[in-house]
Amino acid sequence: MTSLKVVLAGVEMENPTMLASGIMGETGGSLLAMAKGGAGALVTKSIGSAPREGHKNPTLVELEFGYMNAMGLPNPGIDAFGEEMYEAGKAGIPIVGSVFGASAEEFASLSKRMQEFGAEAIELNLSCPHAKGYGMEMGVDPDVVASIISEVKAAVAVPVFAKLTPNTHRLIDVALAAEKAGVDAIVAINTLKAMKIDVDAMRPVLSNRYGGLSGPAVRGVGVRCVYELYEALNIPVIGVGGIEDWRSALEYIMAGAAAVQIGSGVGRVGPRVFGDICSGISSYMEVNRLRNISQLVGVAHD
């Protein structure tokens, strides 16, 4: 028998597939539905201090090979989110609370609330490319990232993940600073900053003009980032970007990802994407006589 079990910075998961933040992660009910699809763990939508409507529509562009989105971090605010966490908890699998803030203090207080709500880990969104004053704007500076992580680590007992942006040549510098500041795992990648112009309307489609590219289009960039991170770091890396079948999941795992997250795949394939990936990986492991998924992590390095 093959085992897909993963222990990720202390978090025990039945399999290495996780729901990525921002996809079906705003309500307890939708988180439960993703658990039913077979996910090993669930990351919530990134939650802030106050309710936030996000950007006006259009917030999404569909492409043949992915999506471009500028949701603008809509969320009901941390106070209202306890109720959703309570409901999501019924899934019986680890819930990772994703948060975003404008300062280290805000990150820390949000993380604390998430821990109170039962989050088994915290994911810091340091990488959203389309919300002014948040995310990527801070996530390209190693010092800023280090100070946020120190503050959050001091505030919570559960493991802390930092989700980084690929929109920089300093990814490794930022990740090393995060590691030094005590982060427990790195999540890569968030979306690529992008734009779609409609030539009939003669203007950008997204109301925010700029958005983030996701899906198969960014897979090669994500795999490259995970491969680089795996070589540079001693803490686990979680891979995300364009995963939608067992092959693309294995690409990340072989690049060094201890677990993978799936976002766009939920739209393109459906919630069953998690289970499909797991059964595909199991078959691959059987054919290749592997007993434990950890035997595959990082094998693409020589």
């Binding site: 921002g22 996809i23 079906m24 992660g25 705003e26 309500t27 307890g28 009910g29 939708s30 988180l31 439960l32 539905a33 039913k36 939508k45 309710p51 936030r52 409507e53 996000g54 006006k56 529509n57 259009p58 917030t59 999404l60 562009v61 569909e62 492409l63 043949e64 090979f65 999506y67 989105n69 949701m71 809509p74 969320n75 009901p76 605010g77 209202a80 109720e83 409609d198 009939d200 309307a201 203007r203 489609v205 976002g263 766009s264 939920v266 739209g267 459906g270």
Partner: protein, 262 residues
């Protein structure tokens, strides 16, 4: 190549505009995307907003029927023949076009989504109940007559037809005829009671729901009802599916994802 990587967003020109009732306009446009009854599209009015709209006409000359209730629908209902709007889709799971005797119950612009389904059933098998606040808001009565052997109208103010709401009218019709399937589209409160009625009478049903939609494509979760995506698993749900939904008729979400009582 160009085919395979074409933009999913398509600009269409309004071929015709028709005023259906007070503040309700049908826009027709040529667009050959395959679509089935009950599906919807995301309509972008550049500079204004992008909103979901059911397809009220299928085939190559498609149509939407819009009620002016706010900024986006105001812009849409102001469009004239020759103007452009930009659409993507169609999205969602529509009606399983039923066999046997059908009762269609439409409230508000709900008839827009129902009619393409009814037009695929032999006319003799269809009865239709159309609800409106008053006569001037009544929608698609003539078109319904072309697809139904029996069209009845209810108005809240009694200005035309049955005096009462569409569910009360449906109850009356269901007590005189045995239907194999009830289709409903309209305000959720109406659907909630219609669903109850069908359960009571033991008649299977399908209802089309609305939720706040951002992506329209099954990603963001803003349209979730009990974890189901109205834009993907819906907008049409079967009576059995609705039965298990705790939020149906009770709760929807605002733009932030916060809970609102219905």
């Amino acid at each position: 190549m160009t085919e395979r990587f074409m933009v999913t967003q398509t600009a269409v020109n309004i071929a015709s505009r028709a005023e259906e009732a007070e503040d309700v306009v049908t826009l027709r446009f040529d667009w050959d995307a395959p679509a089935s009854p009950g599906q919807f599209i995301m309509v972008w009015i550049p500079g204004v907003d992008e909103v979901p709209m059911s397809l009220s006409y299928l085939g190559d000359r498609k149509g939407i029927t819009v009620k002016n209730i706010g900024e986006a629908t105001k812009a849409l209902t102001s469009l004239q023949a020759g103007d452009q709007m930009i659409v993507r889709g169609p999205y969602g799971r529509g009606y399983h076009v039923p066999k046997g005797k059908v009762l269609a119950v439409g409230g508000g612009t709900g008839m827009a989504s129902l009619l393409p389904a009814l037009e695929r059933v032999p006319t003799a098998d269809v009865h239709t109940a159309i609800g409106a606040r008053g006569e001037r808001e009544l929608l698609f009565e003539e078109r319904a007559k072309r697809t139904s052997s029996n069209v009845r109208v209810s108005t809240d103010d009694g200005s035309k037809g049955f005096h009462g709401n569409a569910v009360q009218l449906a109850r009356e019709m269901m007590s005189s005829t045995k239907y194999d399937m009830v289709l409903g589209c309209g305000p959720e409160k109406m659907l909630y009671f219609l669903h109850k009625l069908c359960a009571e009478k033991g008649v299977p049903c399908q209802m089309s729901l609305e939720r706040y939609m951002k992506c329209g494509a099954g990603l963001c979760g803003s349209c979730a009802i009990d974890g189901k995506r109205v834009c993907r698993e819906g907008p049409v749900f079967t009576g059995d599916e609705l039965k298990d939904m705790k939020e149906f008729g009770k709760q929807r979400r605002d733009e932030c994802g916060g809970r609102l009582r219905l």
